[in-house]
C-alpha cells in the first residue's frame, strides 16, 4: 500500500466534491494499492491539519454547519509550505484579473516540492508557461484536467491517448451555461432575457452572467488549450471573443429551418483563437444540447475525435481531479 498525502486548498463545491469522491472511492483506491490521505484542508477562513489523515465526513459536516472547515488559523500558503505532503489539490475559485489566490498557492506548492492538481483556470490562463516550467524545473507534475470541460478528459485524451498525432485544430463547446441558454431559446422560441432568468433560477447561470454569456469563460479555457496542446504562449487578450447576448429566437429558428443549430464555439486553429456563435449542422457531433460540453479534435493520423460530457458539477469535476491524482500516484 502506497500512501499519498494530499491537501485540498479551497473547500467550495469542487473541494467538497473531491472529499466526497475520496470517501466513496476509498475501497477502490485501496484495491489499486493507494491510501490517499488528506492531511490538510483550507478555505478562506483557515485550515484543518492532521498529518494522520483528516476525517473527511467530519470536515464536510463542519463546513455545512459552520460555513468553514477551519479548526486552526493557518492560511493556505502556510499549509502548503509547512505540512509535509505530496500533492496540492488547488481548487479555489477562478480569478481572471490576477489569478489569486490560486496563483500564489500553485507557486508555493511547486517551490516547496509538491505536485499540483488544479481546477483553477485563472493561474493557467495567465501564467501557463511560467508554472509549467516551474513544475518541470523541480521535477514535479502540474495537472489541470478539471480546468477545461469539467468531467470531459480533453488533455488526457490529447497528451496520452492521441500521443504521436499532430493536432490540426480543436473546436468545442466549453461553457454549459451558454449551451443551456442557446438550447432552450431554440427549443422554446423564448427570448434571451427570459431564458437567462430561467437559467439563473435553476442555478445554471450566475447572478452576474457576463463571465459566461460574454464568452469570457470560454476564452479562458481556450487559452489553456492553446498553451497546453498547441504549445502557444497565449493569454486572454489573444482570443477574438463574441458572446451570445445579441442572439435572437428568430435567428435560431432560421438556423433550425435550414438544419443548423447555433452554438458558442471555441476554435483553436493555425494559431488563431476564436470564441463566437457559430452555425453547427444539426447532425454534426458538435451539436450537443443542454448544459453538455464537447470537444472535437482534428488530428493527422486519427482523423476527427469528438468527446462530450458534463462540463460542470462538483462530482463531475472531482472525477477529473481524482484521475490527475491517480496519474501522479502511478507516475511519481
Amino acid at each position: 500500500m502506497k500512501t499519498i498525502r494530499i491537501s485540498i486548498i479551497g473547500f467550495g463545491a469542487v473541494g467538497q466534491g473531491v472529499a466526497r469522491s475520496l470517501i466513496s472511492k476509498q475501497e477502490y483506491l485501496k484495491k489499486e494499492g493507494f491510501d490517499i490521505r488528506v492531511v490538510g484542508i483550507s478555505d478562506s477562513k483557515g485550515s484543518e491539519i492532521n498529518t494522520k489523515g483528516i476525517d473527511l465526513e467530519g470536515a464536510l459536516n463542519r463546513k455545512k454547519q459552520k460555513g468553514t472547515v477551519a479548526t486552526g488559523g493557518s492560511n493556505a500558503i502556510e499549509l502548503i509550505r509547512n505540512v509535509e505532503h505530496d500533492i496540492v489539490v488547488e481548487v479555489t475559485p477562478t480569478n481572471i484579473k490576477n489569478g489569486e489566490p490560486g496563483l500564489g498557492n500553485i507557486r508555493a506548492a511547486l517551490m516547496s516540492g509538491k505536485h499540483v492538481v488544479t481546477s483553477n483556470k485563472g493561474p493557467l490562463a495567465l501564467h501557463f508557461t511560467e508554472l509549467k516550467e516551474a513544475a518541470e524545473d523541480n521535477g514535479l507534475h502540474l495537472r489541470y484536467e478539471a480546468t477545461v470541460g469539467g468531467a470531459v478528459p480533453i488533455f488526457n485524451l490529447v497528451h496520452e491517448a492521441l500521443a504521436g498525432n499532430f493536432i490540426i485544430g480543436i473546436e468545442g463547446i466549453l461553457n454549459g451555461t451558454c449551451n443551456y441558454i442557446l438550447t432552450r431559446m431554440a427549443e422554446e422560441r423564448m427570448p434571451y432575457e427570459l431564458v437567462l432568468k430561467e437559467a439563473q433560477e435553476l442555478g445554471i447561470a450566475e447572478t452576474d452572467p457576463a463571465y459566461d454569456v460574454e464568452g469570457i469563460d470560454s476564452a479562458i479555457k481556450l487559452v489553456i488549450i492553446a498553451n497546453s496542446i498547441f504549445g502557444q504562449n497565449a493569454t486572454y487578450g489573444d482570443v477574438d471573443i463574441t458572446g451570445i447576448t445579441k442572439i435572437t429566437p428568430e435567428a435560431l429558428e432560421l438556423a433550425n429551418k435550414n438544419n443548423y443549430v447555433v452554438k458558442l464555439v471555441c476554435e483553436a486553429r493555425e494559431g488563431k483563437l476564436t470564441v463566437a456563435p457559430r452555425l453547427v449542422p444539426k447532425r454534426h457531433p458538435l451539436a450537443v444540447g443542454g448544459t453538455l460540453n464537447v470537444a472535437s479534435i482534428l488530428t493527422d493520423l486519427a482523423g476527427r475525435i469528438t468527446i462530450s460530457g458534463k462540463g460542470a458539477g462538483s462530482i463531475e469535476t472531482a472525477s477529473s481531479i481524482l484521475s490527475d491524482i491517480l496519474y501522479i500516484a502511478r507516475n511519481p
Partner: protein
C-alpha cells in the same frame, strides 16, 4: 467552364466508355462520374451524371458527338458556383441597406447571394436574416464573406458563420 451533364445509356456493355471517350477527346477534364446501374429511367436507360471541366467553344461539338454515338444527353448545366456557405446576420438589417450589400457581392462576378430569408419580429426590434452565398471556389467564397464581414462590422450586425474545422478535412 465546369459542366454537369446527365446522360442516358443503353443497358448494354461498353456504353460508359462510349459516353466518356468524347469528353477526353475534346480535352475535357472529368471530375466525377456517378453511374447508377440499378436505377433505370422509364425508358429503360441508365442515367449517368458526369461533371467535367471543358472549353465552352467545344461544348456543342461534344453534345453532337454524344448523340451521334447513341448516348442521350438529358440535361446540360453549367456548374459555375460550386462553393456555398450559409450565414446568419442579426441586428438592424433593414436599416443597413442589405440590398446594397447583396449587390456588392453579386457584382464581384465570382459570388452570388442565392437565398435570403428575413425575420422581423417588430419595429425597433432587431431582425435576423439567413443568407446563402455561392461562389466559384473556396477562395472566392472567402472573399465574399470578407465583404459581408466588413458590412456587419460597419453596421454593428452580429454575423454567425458556420464552424470551420470541417473544411480542413475536405
Amino acid at each position: 467552364m465546369i459542366i454537369s451533364m446527365t446522360l442516358e445509356l443503353k443497358d448494354i456493355p461498353g456504353q460508359l466508355v462510349l459516353a466518356l471517350a468524347p469528353i477526353s477527346e475534346l480535352h475535357g477534364n472529368i471530375m466525377s462520374v456517378v453511374h447508377q446501374h440499378y436505377e433505370k429511367t422509364p425508358r429503360g436507360t441508365i442515367p449517368v451524371q458526369v461533371t467535367f471541366e471543358i472549353e465552352h467553344t467545344v461544348l456543342n461539338k461534344l453534345i453532337q458527338r454524344l448523340e451521334k454515338s447513341g448516348v442521350r444527353v438529358a440535361r446540360v448545366g453549367e456548374e459555375r458556383l460550386r462553393s456555398t456557405v450559409s450565414v446568419i446576420l442579426i441586428g438592424h438589417i433593414v436599416h443597413s441597406d442589405m440590398g446594397d450589400t447583396i449587390d456588392k457581392i453579386d457584382s464581384t462576378g465570382f459570388a452570388e447571394v442565392v437565398d435570403m430569408s428575413l425575420s422581423m419580429p417588430a419595429i425597433e426590434k432587431t431582425s435576423s436574416a439567413y443568407l446563402v452565398i455561392n461562389a466559384v471556389g473556396e477562395k472566392e467564397l472567402g472573399m465574399a464573406l470578407d465583404i459581408l464581414r466588413e458590412v456587419a462590422d460597419k453596421k454593428d450586425l452580429l454575423m454567425i458563420e458556420p464552424i470551420r474545422l470541417n473544411s480542413v478535412e475536405a
